[in-house]
């Protein structure tokens, strides 16, 4: 009798467990922006007020602000998911010239970037606008 009760108690406690207790819902995303011509981007700023600039989780519609890119790199901590990555930015090249560039690789739901691991690197090919 005592054995049966002990077994059932233990079974209940073991079963009533927390699902995915050690899950990490966030991902550290490293963005690497480059221009196909080989010019180095020293600094790049995404204008947050420009409509259409987005780092958008397509499941939750949560939009993240872009940090400043230094030497072509920027990092973000976001919830894991599928993201629309699209923006126009002002890029300063190594020679000091300032250009407007566009990132449009992942600009729609069916082109969304997969951010599923604890750390993800996204290569962003920029198009020179002017």
């Amino acid at each position: 009798m005592r054995r049966i009760v002990s077994f059932l108690l233990a079974a209940c406690l073991l079963s009533a467990c927390v699902k995915d207790a050690d899950q990490n819902i966030f991902s550290n995303v490293t963005l690497h922006a480059y221009v196909p011509g080989g010019e180095n981007i020293v600094m790049m700023t995404v204008d947050p007020t420009l409509k259409g600039n987005q780092f958008l989780n397509i499941n939750t519609r949560q939009n993240y602000a872009y940090p400043v890119f230094a030497n072509g790199y920027a990092t973000l901590r976001v919830q894991k998911g599928l993201y629309i990555v699209a923006f126009d930015a002002e890029a300063t090249y190594a020679d000091g010239s300032v250009h407007t560039v566009r990132c449009s690789q992942h600009n729609a739901s069916d082109l969304a970037a997969f951010v599923l691991d604890d750390s993800v690197n996204l290569e962003l090919e920029m198009t020179l606008l002017r």
Binding site: A16, K19, I58, T60, R61, K80, L82
Partner: protein, 504 residues
Amino acid sequence: MRRILHIFLLLAATGLSALAQDTLSVNGRTAAGRDPLRLSAREWSPAAFLLESIPQRSWAEAGVDLRREDQAWLTQEGDAALQGFFRTENLHRFERSAVLMGASYERGVKRNVRWNETSDFTLLYPYVMADSVGGDLQREQYAFQGHYAGRSGDWTWGAGMAYRALHEYRQVDPRPRNVTSDFRVDGTAGRILGPYALALTLSCRRYHQLQNTAFVNPKGANTTLFHMTGLGSHFARFAGTNAYVNVRYRGNGYTAALLLQPLSGEGFQAGLRYGSLTTVRHLINQNEAPFTELWTQEVGTEISWIRRAGRRNWRITLDGRYEFRQGTENLLDNFVSGQFRNLLDLTMYRNRNGFVRLQGVWQAVREADRWSLSPFVSLPFLYAEYLYPARRLDLLALEAGTDVRWEHTAGAWLLDVSGGAGWLDGMDSSLSLSEEYTDARMRSSIRSQFGKWSDNALSTRLSARVQHSLGTAMSLYMDAALQQKFYGRSGNATFLQAAVGLEL
């Protein structure tokens, strides 16, 4: 409908034909079945009726249920409801076995349902479909159950099933039509151990709900439909009025319960139960893509001591329930392959709720009168969280009260009157919502609901049953129960139930 009526009539007729063997009068059987000292063990083991000290008993009743609240306790269930019902239950005893059959039919309307279009909200929350318009919801439900239990030497066993079907709909936009079926099957094995019986019951559950929502106004949809994910968050990707409005819930679960009950109806009784139910929500029009999964676990326990000493009897019970809900959202891909593939699942919602309660019954018996006093103190709690954007709701309350009951038998009459009062004190509460990512209307609704949940409340109860024997085999009764709740800041609530029935 005709088939349902036939089943009800069959059950009622079976009850009529099988009751004459009992030596107790009908009113005596009723009083035994409603004894406040007796603990219903059926919650723990459907086969427990075999060994309970309830004589053979059958009843059928028809009545109305009314609920009216100044502010809804659950916005998602509306602030008022009116429904009629018919219920019947037959318990037949044979030499070494017993059969229990029951059926019920309910039909009515829930008023001003908001932020929910899904049936069985309390089972499926937070994963329901919602909108900001809402409205009245018509409902119709029927349920059947049948159990058989037997005894062979010191061994007992039982088997049974229960089925519930629910249909809810609305005839103005947005127009949900929800069809639910809920099926359970159970088996029990037990052993008599001296003055006690130990029983282990295992049951399986299969749940299904098909939800179709339509807009027929030619001017277009009057609201967006949201797939809620907890504390005001929702699956924004599938919000809309067209492609994602048809949903299927599929649930599978099991329960294991262990019950120790005294054969004599007095002594120590204990029960322990664990249940698990996993419900997956599918998008029907998207190749049945599963996009959320809710895992609900429940642990319940009860320990009682019953003492019968003739004229002075008492019972003390400590019971509790703990429910743990975990909601998982599936990250579906971008439909490039023509179907949504599940790439990753994230457990984003957790809800822990339950109560611990201590209650006692003290009973005085004097010839044709039975007086009882039933004080209780209870500690209900609720802790819910959504991981990101972070949302959290904490509630802890203390409730205490007492009921007084008087049962009187005089000739062919049985009178059972009870009244009581309780005080609910919202001891500790906090709510934190993500301002930026929660729709302002949802935020307002949750805050309003939280205000009521954390409020203090005085509740009063009054109920009466008048029963009159019509010969030796039948009694006619009338039941009425009125409950009122007076909240500090959230208005009042009234619950009324009235029924007339036949006891056989």
